[in-house]
């Protein structure tokens, strides 16, 4: 038995990765139009830098960050700005967005290659990352340059690249590691240099033996970088769980951050984007998206321009099957169900999952909590989801805080395991929205 790192508790949903795990990344077609939300990240929305009717080129900055915790957005195609207005975002909110209609030419602004990129000073690296609009591509979409600028009193000694990809169905990070291992490693080296950190890890779940092998091969001779295999368990790729698995350190509760234990975690996809931004000054205008589920005719891993509509993206996978009933942006454990296909792929979109009636569990019917305690056994944060859901159901939101309500990061393990099929995550979100930490 090979040694595998992990955390306590967690669940084992069916992986369903076989639909796309062996399919190389293909490029999606050039979108006819893109909708680029000015807020694709945590923090202040970008301010539009173009006007309706203006011609833009690929890579052109069209929204600038108004503050430190923010990120610029760029045109992902060349064409004409046809609208600047509120538009539906995959999170379900209406978000100010810039709509560009393609001119079919996909004309780029020129990029430049800097082969000496590994010797750039840290401040310049961070500035390049910031200007490229890079945010965490694992899904949280926190501006990367901010994460790479911890305050002085929080010394960082370890960088972890997150290649766990613990969400079922998703294989975008898996394919990226298999196909571009050198770029992943170069991205990690840039991050380590920006932070002045001597130690780097790449954590990969053991259900991706090919990725583990190529990443190990790519790090031969890199004494300060270690590839670690992780037990296949959800939510292994959650920041806190990953840090625990690899370093044994536990991020403190009540708003503690990875930097409190000297760690910065970045997704492998983010590392590749960082490499491209620092070496070629390439802004983040595309990402790998796994389009999957039994509801699409031909599941694929696609390289997609930011802002491409789901309706257009699904065309590349042969369209929807007749029994398709649910479209989820993200993975099945934490993703958002969509009511319309007219939503764009954003920087944080790691997958589009289309479920058929057979895959879908009728979640509107649920029963009283029978207090079986399974949710407590699986909660990676050591919470009591049973109690939280009951308190929220009864409207006792303040009391829920005594049960560490705000330490829940909504991984969904509790609702996954619940035999009464209670929407525990929904109850917890409700309680969070009705009270303050």
């Amino acid at each position: 038995m090979v040694k595998a790192d992990t955390f306590e508790r967690g669940v084992h949903p069916h992986e369903s990765k076989e639909l796309t795990a062996h399919k190389p990344i293909e490029s999606a077609h050039l979108p006819r139009r893109v909708v680029i939300p000015l807020s694709q990240h945590i923090g202040a929305p970008a301010k539009p830098e173009v006007n309706i009717g203006e011609e833009v080129k690929r890579y052109q900055m069209i929204g600038s960050p108004p503050g430190f915790v923010s990120a610029p957005v760029h045109a992902s195609i060349s064409g004409k700005v046809i609208a600047i207005s509120d538009f539906l975002h995959p999170s379900g909110r209406m978000v100010p967005s810039i709509v560009i209609e393609s001119d079919g030419k996909d004309e780029p602004l020129p990029l430049e290659d800097n082969p000496d990129y590994l010797n750039l000073p840290p401040d310049e690296i961070k500035a390049l990352i910031r200007d490229a609009g890079i945010v965490g591509l694992g899904g949280a979409a926190f501006p990367t340059s901010v994460k790479l600028s911890p305050p002085k009193e929080k010394p960082i000694d370890t960088v972890i690249l997150n290649g766990a990809e613990c969400e079922p169905y998703l294989t975008a990070d898996h394919r990226l590691m298999v196909e571009r291992p050198e770029d992943v490693v170069n991205g990690l080296k840039i991050i380590m240099r920006a932070l002045g950190v001597p130690r780097g890890f790449i954590g990969i779940e053991m259900n991706k033996p090919d990725a583990i092998k190529v990443m190990k091969d790519a790090t031969v001779g890199e004494g300060d970088i270690d590839v670690r295999q992780l037990k296949v368990k959800y939510p292994q790729g959650a920041e806190k769980m990953l840090i625990k698995a690899i370093t044994g350190r536990e991020v403190p509760p009540k708003g503690g951050l990875p930097m409190d234990v000297g760690v910065v975690v970045q997704n492998v996809g983010t590392a590749v984007a960082i490499y491209e931004a620092v070496r070629y000054r390439k802004p983040l205008i595309e990402r790998v998206v796994t389009v999957t589920g039994r509801g699409v005719r031909e599941p694929k891993n696609l390289k997609v321009r930011i802002g491409m509509m789901l309706s257009e993206l699904i065309e590349d996978c042969g369209g929807l099957v007749d029994g398709a009933v649910k479209v989820i942006v993200g993975g099945p454990m934490m993703g958002f169900a969509q009511w319309s296909l007219d939503v764009p792929v954003v920087k944080g979109t790691s997958g589009v999952l289309v479920q058929t009636e057979e895959e879908f569990f009728p979640s509107e019917e649920y029963f009283a909590c029978i207090r079986c305690g399974r949710c407590i056994d699986v909660c990676p944060m050591g919470l009591n989801p049973s109690m939280l859901s009951i308190l929220s159901e009864k409207g006792h939101y303040e009391e829920a805080k005594e049960y560490n309500l705000f330490d829940c990061f909504e991984c969904g393990s509790c609702a996954f395991i619940c035999p009464s099929k209670r929407p525990i995550v929904q109850f917890i979100r409700l309680a969070k929205s009705q009270t303050k930490p």
Binding site: V11, P13, R33, A83, S85, D86, F87, L88, V99, K244, E250, V251, P252, P253, V325, K326, I328, G330, P332, M333, M334, G335, F336, A337, Q338, W339, S340, L341, D342, E359, F360, F361, E364, F367, A368, I370, R371, C372, G373, R374, I376, D377, M381, G382, L383, N384, M387, Y403, D407, E410, G412, A415, I417, C418, P419, S420, K421, P423, V425, Q426
Partner: protein, 336 residues
């Protein structure tokens, strides 16, 4: 706005979008299944009376749940197996010779008063089957303590009455109990296989343990309550159970007799009425064991498992309030 939005007939719900296959119904029916070996043994030892009593309990339990929910226009939940389980457990906790109205009244008390009036499955404070039995014991003390000797003949209709091993132990002492069964070895063997007087489903320890092993394997129950319950009983029996002073008791007789195995694995572990947190369950199990032995050794009844579990049911919410799971990061923070 230039871009038109179309509606698609898509289902929207909160994450997670995949669920485990386990349901309340599957768990309840599995527990029912796990009790079958011991139930069949009871038919062998106590004959058609045992079949009659358990069938009556199950039918009355399921029917009273159905009628109650129908009358109050609530969702009918009899298919989840929990009313069936209450009836089954109540039946297994009755003497085989009880008159027909006892199973019926007991089932109504268990299902309607103890469970449904509190809001149905999930909301009841006490174990329904045990409240049903407690009610019957207080209402018809004579019928509820008249025990038939096992006949091991399915056709025997009139079994002779006798005392339970715990009754003999309490009234006449351990030597009389050994004499009754021949030798100490025979006593243990008969207790293990269930060839003794008692509530009809509690006697066959070995078959109950097979059912319990299935539940443990399927992770429908965990070791915490049964093991803490049984070890507390064993330790207290050894320390205080002997006539010749401290540390002279026979823990094995106490473990194998009465309703202990049925109670510890199948009734104290009832999700709804025990603590949810594993650490709390150990406290709960120790409490059950301590009260059981207090009643067995010092109380007026020979057996105390029922009252022990019911009393500890009262404490379950209190235990849950005060024993919390270990918050991620909290312990490390203190150590640092």
């Amino acid at each position: 706005m230039a871009v038109e939005q179309k509606r698609h007939p898509l289902i929207v719900s909160v994450s997670p979008h995949v669920r485990d296959r386990e349901t309340v119904g599957r768990i309840m029916w599995s527990v029912n299944l796990s009790l079958m070996p011991a139930l069949i043994a009871s038919f062998y030892y106590f004959g058609p009376r045992a079949v009659f009593v358990t069938a009556l309990c199950i039918i009355s339990s399921v029917l009273s749940e159905y009628l109650f929910q129908k009358a109050l226009k609530r969702q009918i939940t009899i298919s989840d197996g929990s009313a069936f389980l209450t009836g089954l457990l109540l039946g297994m906790n009755l003497p085989p010779s009880v008159p027909f109205y006892i199973p019926i009244v007991g089932s109504v008390v268990a299902v309607v008063i103890t469970k449904q009036l509190f809001g149905g499955l999930g909301y009841n404070i006490f174990n329904p089957a045990l409240i049903g039995r407690a009610f019957l014991l207080i209402t018809w003390p004579r019928a509820m303590t008249t025990w038939s000797a096992p006949t091991a003949q399915f056709t025997a209709l009139d079994a002779k009455t006798t005392a339970t091993p715990l009754g003999i132990l309490k009234e006449e002492g351990i030597n009389k109990l050994i004499e009754e069964f021949g030798s100490k070895g025979d006593l243990y063997i008969n207790l293990l296989f269930g060839n003794r007087a008692g509530s009809l489903g509690e006697t066959s320890v070995i078959l109950l343990l097979i059912g319990a092993a299935y539940l443990l394997y399927k992770r429908y129950i965990t070791w915490h309550i049964p093991i803490s319950f049984l070890s507390t009983v064993a330790i207290l029996a050894w320390v205080f159970g002997g006539k010749e002073g401290l540390f002279t008791g026979d823990p094995l007789i106490h473990l194998l007799s009465g309703g202990l195995i049925l109670g510890a694995f199948f009734m104290a572990t009832d999700y709804v009425t025990c603590p949810t947190i594993r650490k709390g369950q150990i406290i709960f199990g120790i409490g059950c064991g301590a009260i059981t032995m207090l009643i067995r050794l010092k109380g007026g009844f020979p057996e105390g498992v029922m009252f022990a579990i019911l009393l500890m049911n009262c404490f379950a919410p209190l235990i849950d309030r005060n024993v919390k799971p270990e918050l991620f990061g909290a312990v490390k923070e203190k150590k640092r």
